[in-house]
């Protein structure tokens, strides 16, 4: 792909070299990086298939941005390698890596119009002015900003600026698209619109994409696979539904979606007692855990029924559409949230006594907090 495109063909290109789209396979192998005493990355390994959108998700400081910048070439790893399409990129300078990057904000060149911004990468690749203009216009059209072609960045809204930034990154037909929390600085509504737009474009062009975010909703809704990171390592990489339904660790479970924590006691290595029920343990019990533990259950994983003299009192209810989220205070000062179909939730009002119970399904356990 690179050969044909950088020769200045200016074609709206599908190279056909890597499956359907422009994307190349990317492999991160054992990446490590420390900043002084802080270990930002601790042996990160990840493989991204051509055309796939992988999101790196995690709290601030988990190393996701560092990983992205290493792939981009703005930081060097202390150990490990980045391989794109079979080629090790470690000795290659950022400017030569042929990757498109969208930054969090303020990355458009204020001295150029939107059109010129988009065409900048093409100018660096020595495309003729006519070809450059045509291709830039095509891309602005793809992001729906043709009328703004001659506007300067300061005349555009935040959302528009990021769309131009996206068009600019894609104009060079990169093998890999890198996105560094591109939606964080935008307001909610714009964020939602752009999410869809980015995803649609990415799929249409088939570009391999690495997307960094701290917003789990964003990651889950956009990505083919999500890698959850903590303290420089990947806790789990899986498709969104897998991540949600079968989190590998307690951290992933609590980071993705909402999790309840219930006190329980471990019985052996594969059973746990909580809420007066014995249920199997999902997966392996974390090493060294015994006796008193916390059990992790999703709101939709609990059963609730109005019952005088039950084990809890309803403290609050939140209408969420088809389900209502009911907050219940259990004995022992534990609060849980239980999702219940709204149609049937009429009787579960604050102050009511209810019985919350565990169905016979496997649950995750983790150390008592």
């Amino acid at each position: 792909m690179t050969a044909s495109t950088t020769a200045g063909s200016g074609r709206h290109g599908r190279s056909g070299r890597h499956g359907d789209g422009m994307g190349a396979p990317v492999t991160l192998q054992d990446l490590s990086r420390s900043f002084g005493a802080v270990r930002a990355l601790d042996g990160l390994s990840l493989h991204i298939a051509p055309g796939e959108l992988v999101a790196l998700l995690g709290p601030s400081g988990c190393g996701k941005t560092t990983a992205l910048r290493i792939v981009a070439g703005f930081e060097a790893a202390d150990a490990g390698s980045v391989t794109v399409d079979g080629k090790d990129l470690s000795p290659v300078a950022a400017a030569k890596r042929d990757m498109g990057m969208v930054f969090q904000s303020y990355s458009l060149f204020p001295n150029m119009t939107a059109l010129d911004n988009v065409g900048f990468g093409l100018r660096m690749r020595r495309l003729r002015a006519a070809d450059r203009q045509r291709r830039s216009a095509e891309l602005l059209d793809m992001v729906g900003l043709s009328p703004q072609a001659r506007s300067y960045p300061h005349q555009l809204s935040g959302g528009q600026q990021q769309r131009v930034a996206l068009a600019r990154a894609l104009a060079i037909e990169p093998r890999v698209l890198l996105l560094d929390e591109p939606l964080s600085a935008l307001d909610a509504k714009v964020r939602l619109q752009l999410r869809e737009q980015i995803r649609a474009l990415q799929q249409r062009l088939g570009t391999t994409t690495l997307f960094v975010t701290h917003d789990q909703e964003e990651a889950l809704s956009m990505a083919d696979r999500v890698g959850v990171m903590k303290d420089g390592r990947l806790e789990q990489v899986a498709a969104p539904d897998e991540l949600y339904a079968r989190p590998a660790t307690a951290f992933v479970a609590e980071f993705v979606g909402i999790m309840n924590r219930l006190p329980g006691s471990l019985l052996g290595q594969d059973q746990v007692r909580a809420l007066d029920t014995v249920v199997p343990v999902h997966g392996d019990v974390p090493a060294g855990l015994a006796g008193d533990v916390d059990v992790l259950v999703r709101p939709e994983g609990l059963q609730i029924a109005a019952a005088p003299g039950g084990n809890g009192i309803v403290t609050d209810r939140t209408f969420l559409g088809s389900v209502t989220r009911i907050s219940v205070r259990l004995s022992g000062d534990v609060t849980v949230k239980v999702d219940y179909p709204s149609a049937a939730a009429a009787s579960l009002t604050p102050g009511e006594s209810v019985q919350v119970s565990l169905p016979a399904a496997a649950v995750l356990v983790t150390g008592r907090r």
Partner: protein, 308 residues
């Protein structure tokens, strides 16, 4: 463009970071600093070297070249010590008074939302006047306030001739009046960035909590601005203390302040064996300035904490 400079900077900017070498960390750091090499060299040659030369000459006997303290001693005798004193007093006054006026003017234009043209004009004017000194300025004031000056004439017509009441342009007081002409604009220029740092939100929050104008300035605005203000005043001190041309042109080299005295010595009004006294005086000036700069640096650090 300076190819040389760009080459030196290149390793820094085009991501040597992409090369994960272990041994090259320290090499990388050396390369990092190489980018400021041209600047550093220039400053070393243009500022440091002359200063060191002066320091050395201050302690050198002009005829034998040997180490001596006589220059330094002579520099504190006769008219030189009063010269230093006058210089410092003059500089202090020329720092505080223009400091206050400059602040007021800067404040007057800074908050003017609809006065953008005014601000542009005042800023440009400040740029011009801050550098306007020396002879042309002296002539201006001679035409204005000398015994036959225009304003002197106006005041005499009103019945009060300043020259009859002890005023003269040709002593430190007169020089002070003239110094304001470039000190005030200098203050305007250097205090504006600090004013930009005063966030309107602070003012609004204070009002929201019931503070009046005076209370705002007393508890919030004043304290926040003070380090920067003081720093700029120190800057003005340095500028006034170092000034030479204006005083020289105005008084014909007769006013007794250090910079003038150095000029006189350099121009050859020297007794035998005292050729290097000028360098000793220069050294004194540098030392005084050095002390001022240290305080300035401390204040700037304070100011930066709140105003950036």
């Amino acid at each position: 463009m300076a190819e040389r400079t760009i080459q030196a900077a290149a390793p820094g900017i085009t991501a040597p970071g992409a090369r994960p070498g272990r041994g090259s960390r320290s090499l990388r750091r050396i390369l990092q600093w190489s980018g400021v090499l041209p600047f550093g060299t220039y400053v070393a040659l243009g500022l440091a070297a002359p200063t060191i030369a002066i320091a050395i000459a201050a302690f050198r006997n002009p005829s034998t070249g040997s180490f001596t303290l006589s220059n330094v001693r002579l520099a504190t005798e006769g008219s030189y010590l009063p010269g230093l004193r006058n210089g410092i007093v003059l500089a202090t006054a020329s720092a505080i008074v223009p400091g206050i006026f400059g602040l007021l003017i800067a404040y007057a234009i800074h908050t003017a939302k609809r006065g953008r043209l005014l601000r542009q004009m005042v800023i440009t004017a400040s740029g011009v006047f801050a550098n306007f000194g020396g002879v042309p300025l002296a002539f201006l004031f001679i035409a204005t306030l000398s015994t036959t000056g225009v304003v002197t004439g106006w005041l005499s017509d009103l019945g009060w001739d300043p020259w009859n009441h002890g005023f003269t342009l040709y002593n430190p007081v007169g020089v002070f009046v003239v110094y304001m002409y470039f000190q005030i604009p200098l203050m305007v220029l250097v205090i504006l960035p600090a004013l930009e740092g005063l966030r309107p939100a602070w003012r609004e929050a204070a009002e929201n909590m019931g503070a009046g104008t005076w209370q705002y300035w007393r508890h919030v605005g004043g304290p926040v601005l003070f380090p920067a203000f003081l720093g700029c005043v120190l800057l003005l001190f340095g500028s006034a203390f170092s000034a030479y041309a204006t005083a020289e042109a105005l008084t014909g080299g007769t006013v007794a302040i250090t910079s003038i005295q150095i000029g006189a010595l350099e121009n050859g009004n020297v007794l035998a064996g005292q050729q290097n006294v000028g360098y000793a005086l220069g050294l004194f000036m540098v030392v005084i300035i050095g002390i001022v700069m240290i305080f300035y640096a401390i204040l700037q650090r304070r100011a930066a904490r709140w105003l950036r």
